[in-house]
Amino acid sequence: MNSIIKHIFRLVIFLFVQVYILSNVPLVHHYITPYLYFLFILWLPFSIRRWHLLIIGFSFGMLTDYFLHTPGLHAAPCALIAYLRPFLLNIFIAKDSTEQSFTEPSVRSMGWGPYSFYIGILTFLHHAYLVFIEWMQFGTFGYFILKVLATTVLSLVMIFITEMLFSRKTKSRLT
């Protein structure tokens, strides 16, 4: 119960930061758009069912879309990373050791290497799919490649700062 409230609180904070702060920051260049909201999906607990994860990811993306008036644009990549997340977690962690002792993905539960791979790959896939949908509507191939790279780098820097600022004390289940 406590953890559900914690995740709802996180949802509101991520949505607020994305809609009211990051979408109003003056741009350095139009290839660089700040995105942080999808970290909510990456921080969901291990124990969540795949089917539930998919629905939560999609609804969270759609919620963001209704605030930014772009229905579907953010929901599609959110559903993608929610679908792929369990596969990556299976690759990167030894199942019986980590999943039983920690509740959610973090530096402490997975270690620096696997965690940064996990974040990096899903961030890249999210941006690639999102910019790909934008590219279908306008822009060129150069726009697609450069924007994916620039936006991914900026997002990774922001995620790194977030991890530094809010070190989540993921409780060990055994204690």
Binding site: V19, Y20, L22, S23, N24, V25, P26, L27, H30, T33, P34, R50, W51, L54, I55, F58, G61, Y66, F67, L68, H69, T70, P71, G72, L73, A75, A76, A79, L80, Y83, I133, E134, Q137, F138, G139
Partner: protein, 291 residues
């Protein structure tokens, strides 16, 4: 039959993932054609309420700049007052009434409705502005939106008490515009290239038009959403196209999209008539072309 159920069970996650993706793609393509989202009316109402709560807090931060803009606008409007102009001949009296129809048989074509900006973005590829004024207060789609310094956008969707305008800072935005000083009042579309929220672009301007840095760009007479001669911006650079046949103008937008808080929605009383006539003509030409 049993095999089908087994198949669905085994690939349940993949199938639901694909269904969600199809929903997204349909939603995107539908929105980019009509700007009508699924449940858009209800969603606008909810996000509108949250946006206006948030705006109540943040509007204080820009208050100085907003006040300055409004004061300048007041000053400009006061200069337009009829009482400031003295007619040389005392037998000629010009009277303009605010009624729809007055005794001199002048018709009122445009009305301006005030509205508050409650939500705004500048950093995305397609930016929209939420306004606190909706269908109950007389807003319809395709009405123009005018800020204190110049035009801001066009209404694309309306709910009961809120409406959403497509900002000029949108890849799909197109506004018919012309050069204020040019004699032939050459009209061309003003667009946004997604680059800088302060600059708009006017492409394919004929070389016969005399244009130089600092010229004023205003709305043309062709758009049913805007009255003519409304400020859009000033030309900052004049570049030749790749082919060298036309100019591409880079325009510094008069509106500062980051700080707009009070706008006017423009009601064209002849909009339906003009729109109907236009669409009938288009249909007629289409039919003739087929024959």
């Amino acid at each position: 039959m049993r095999n089908i159920f087994l198949f669905i069970r085994q690939y349940f996650n993949l199938i639901s993932f694909l269904i969600l993706q199809i929903i997204c793609i349909v939603s995107i393509s539908k929105f980019s054609k009509t700007h009508e989202a699924f449940f858009s009316t209800k969603a606008n109402e909810v996000t509108g309420v949250i946006n206006s709560r948030y705006n109540n807090i943040t509007k204080y931060f820009n208050l100085a700049k907003v006040n300055e803009d409004l004061a300048l606008e007041n000053n400009r409007l006061r200069n337009l007052l009829q009482s400031n102009i003295v007619a040389p001949d005392s037998s000629l009296v010009i009277k303009i009434d605010t009624l729809i129809k007055d005794t001199l048989n002048r018709f009122r074509k445009y009305t301006f409705l005030p509205a508050t900006v409650v939500g705004n973005t500048v950093s995305l590829e397609s930016n929209f502005i939420s306004l606190e004024r909706g269908a109950n207060q007389g807003v319809k789609t395709d009405m123009g939106v005018l800020g204190p310094n110049g035009i801001v956008g066009k209404i694309v969707s309306v709910s009961d008490n809120y409406s959403v305008a497509m900002s000029l800072l949108n890849r799909n935005s197109k506004v018919s515009a012309m050069l204020k000083n040019s004699k032939d009042q050459y009209a061309e579309n003003v667009e946004w290239d997604g680059d800088d929220p302060d600059y708009l672009v006017m492409r394919k301007v004929s070389k016969s038009v005399q244009v130089k840095k600092g010229d004023t760009i205003v709305t043309s007479r062709y758009s049913p959403s805007f009255p003519s001669q409304l400020m859009i911006g000033t030309v900052t650079t004049v570049e030749k196209d790749d082919q060298g046949n036309t100019y591409t103008l880079r325009i510094k937008s008069a509106t500062n999209f980051r700080t707009i808080q009070h706008v006017n929605i423009i009601v064209n009383h002849y909009y339906t008539e003009q729109f109907k006539l236009d669409s009938i003509t288009k249909k007629l030409h289409f039919n003739l072309g087929n024959e």
